[in-house]
Amino acid sequence: MSALTFTLKNQPEFTLNVASLIPENLAGKTLAKIKSLAVIYGNETVKLGTLFTVKGTDPSQIFIEKSTQKLINIGQGMTEGSITIKGDAGDYLGQGMKGGTLTVSGNVGCWAGNAMSGGRINIIGNAGDYVGAGLPGDSFGMTNGLINIKGNAGDRVGDRMRRGIIIIQGKAGNYCGSRLHAGTIIVLDKVGKLPGEGMRRGSIILAKKPELLSATFKSCGNLKMQFLRLLFTQLASIDKELALFSKYGPEAHRFSGDLARNGKGEILILQHYK
């Protein structure tokens, strides 16, 4: 069986909501039926076949080719299978996702992994603001799962996140891990101002000193934390790609905070093995 492949015929002019293209929704449907699915294009509802050429048979593996930032809500609520996007993706990538794997070869818009509760998102390019956050009004952002970003991320990574792991191998913007309830955020390059603003619990693990740390975080000095070793070993066992953490040791400068909330969270600044 070959992967079910959707190729955009033309560059869409307006945002195109492709929330219906998830494995469980396409399972058991013929190609003709898939082509007649309704998608929301701009302010109209159009048939999927008018915008995409579709081939392949296996709905548990979906490919979207020539994708652009106009494609929004990719993989919304998916629970199984995989979606691979060649090109960029728009806002709300993997919104409310519960399982499965989403891979994007380009950049993505804002709200990637918004309120996701399981599964994994890999982004090779950069991501916008609010990675793994929740929509305004939601009590929590992401509640489980793993987001791995090779490039940079925008502001407010993991806003109100509850559980799960976000790994950013590039830079992160301001207010990284703001209002964090719990969970782990790892940033391996520079991070903007005021990480962990208003965080309650959880860990923000940084490889470099942040641009500005709030006065409501208190230094606890350099500590050897076996927890870091366990975390990195565990991550390496999930995926070979995540073995990169082997160069970081268990020693970290710990800041506890946000003391303006309840001070049970921590920011760890990793020390390299000498």
Binding site: L135, P136, G137, D138, S139
Partner: protein, 551 residues
């Protein structure tokens, strides 16, 4: 140009017409007598077997004012899950428990309602309230100004100013805020909350001002009577939701010494403390007291199960209830030292003992109060349930077997603690016409609404009789507003803007002298800007003011 409604079955309690075949003629937005022989009838509707009632009137529904807007802002998920797309006629909107203004207006009209009254307009929030009501299409509206916890009034009462001065202040407030009545919410309690009192019984003193809720209710009820305001003082009493508040409510009824008083959402004020869980129904005692005291009218504030949001001016009670917020977020705030406001989202669960008993208490009250002229159908939208559940509530009242089926599905202990199963009463269509049309109009002093006699405004709702009353009342066949057909088969076919009902009571304007000084010293706006001009409501010709006469 006459329109004729023929062959319909008319329910018009004001004229004692109980399901009789009558023809109705509409001319120039009003209902008229049969025209003379040579008059031309342009349109005739054959309503064979259909039921004709006046347009329904909701006497207590939170559709405007600061608190609803806070609820809207606080609950984006309520909006995201209930989106209303625009059509060629209607505009888009959203919201289930706290719908947007436009959506609220459309939904009311599609249920056959032609007038709605916002019960809690803070004088300092009046402009916002009128703007929101102006944005609520299809229905007529009006609002009750909220007094009783505002600094100026409490100062007057504390310094033992004479009743005439207080009446002047009440009259001035009605005039300045374009109100339709006076409401008092947790008399003095909202103020007491700010002085760290967390409960205030009827005879307990507000620590700062040294006045009790009893003084406040008596003084305001006197003022309302003396000014000749048709709607009696609208009272949201002390101790809302507290088990054992039954005694407070009975004492409140005694406190007004026979003056007219409207007790609102009384279901929340009818709790006893019997039983293992120290929570029981006081519906029988309350109903008995209401039956005995013809000066008292009530609306129920029925609870129906599901997600909603409670929005109240009673910050003391909302603070006490915030622990039960679902989803877990809440707001309690002061508004300009006039009063306060609290918004707590809440989910009523049928398997929860307390919620299930609240549901039963509301229904017991409906069924035990004998006189439908003094009990109005409300859910205290959105506090007990959104107004869209009225048809379901009507079915519960009209269909005993349906009610008993529902009773069997709720929390077993609550069902056992309630006397609901033993009550045989079923409301008739005539009773429903009284409690949703004739009685509210009478209570509010709307002389030409709520009935179908000659001279009445042609606000008419026509239903197909159906055994399932929920279906019947949720989808009227035709709704006429001011003689125009606005809804056909439960769908809007013409968008209109309703009027705003107000009063102009007579009072001594000398009160403005002391008010002016007070405003200069303490208020955030000047006296001139505080008052609401007619032009503000009539803006761009969308609104209209109807001044109702005082008694």
């Amino acid at each position: 140009m006459y329109t004729k409604l023929t062959n319909g079955i008319v329910y018009d309690p004001v004229h004692g017409i109980n399901g009789e075949h009558r023809d109705i003629y509409i001319h120039d937005g009003h209902i008229t007598r049969k025209p003379l022989g040579n008059a031309k009838i342009c349109k005739t509707y054959d309503l064979k077997g259909k039921i004709i009632m006046a347009g329904a009137i909701d006497i207590h529904t939170h559709i405007g004012g600061g608190k609803v807007n806070i609820a809207r802002m606080m609950l984006p998920e309520d909006h995201a899950t209930d989106l209303v797309e625009k059509t060629e006629l209607t505009r888009s909107g959203c919201g289930y428990a706290a719908p947007s203004t436009l959506t609220a207006g459309y939904r009311y009209a599609e249920m056959g309602y032609t007038a709605c009254f916002e019960p809690a307009m803070l004088p300092s929030n009046a402009r916002q309230t009128h703007m929101e009501m102006a944005d609520t299409p299809m229905v007529d509206k009006g609002a009750y100004a909220m007094l009783g916890s505002d600094d100026f009034f409490l100062r007057m009462l504390a310094s033992k100013k004479d009743q005439a001065a207080i009446s002047d202040y009440v009259g001035w407030t009605i005039n300045a805020t374009q109100a339709m009545g006076i409401k008092v919410v947790n008399p003095g309690g909202i103020s007491a909350f700010k002085f760290n009192q967390r409960k205030l019984d009827l005879d307990e003193l507000n620590q700062y001002y040294g006045v009790s809720p009893r003084d406040i209710i008596k003084s305001l009820a006197r003022a309302v009577t003396e000014l000749g305001i048709p709607h009696p003082l609208h009272v949201h009493g002390c101790n809302l939701g507290v088990p054992g508040n039954l005694d407070t409510t009975l004492e409140t009824i005694r406190a007004v010494d026979g003056m007219r008083m409207h007790l609102t959402h009384i279901q929340f004020h009818s709790y006893g403390t019997e039983g293992d869980k120290k929570f029981s129904s006081g519906a029988a005692e309350i109903a008995e007291a209401v039956n005995k005291n013809p000066n008292i009218s009530i609306d129920v504030g029925q609870v129906l199960f599901g997600q909603t949001v409670t929005a109240s001016g009673d910050s003391m009670l909302q603070y006490a209830g915030h622990w039960h917020a679902h989803p877990k977020k809440w707001v309690v705030m002061d508004i300009e030292c006039d009063a306060g406001c609290g918004v707590v989202p809440f989910k009523y669960r049928d398997k929860n003992f307390v919620n299930a008993l609240q549901w039963a208490i509301g229904l017991e009250l409906f069924l035990l109060v004998d006189d439908p002229w003094r009990i109005f159908l409300t859910t205290d939208h959105p506090n007990g349930a959104p107004f869209t559940s009225y048809p379901h509530l009507i079915r519960l009242l009209m269909d005993r077997s349906f009610r008993n089926d529902m009773l069997a599905s709720i929390n077993k202990e609550a069902a056992a603690a309630s006397t609901l199963a033993s009550i045989d009463r079923e409301y008739s269509l005539y009773d429903i016409a009284i409690m949703t049309r004739a009685a509210p109009a009478k209570s509010l002093g709307l002389k030409n609404r709520g009935h179908l006699g000659s001279g009445a405004v042609a606000d008419i709702t026509i239903y197909s009789n159906n055994k399932d009353k929920e279906k019947m009342f949720s989808k009227p066949d035709y709704v006429f507003k001011d003689g125009e057909l606005i809804v056909r088969n439960g769908k809007i076919i013409k968008v209109v803007n309703g009027a705003t009902h107000t009063l102009r009571p007579e009072y001594d304007n000398g009160i403005e002298k002391s008010l002016k000084r007070y405003f200069e010293d303490f208020q955030t706006v000047s006296l001139g800007n505080f008052k609401i001009d007619d032009d503000e409501i009539v803006e761009h010709g969308n609104g209209r003011i109807i001044v109702q006469p005082c008694m």
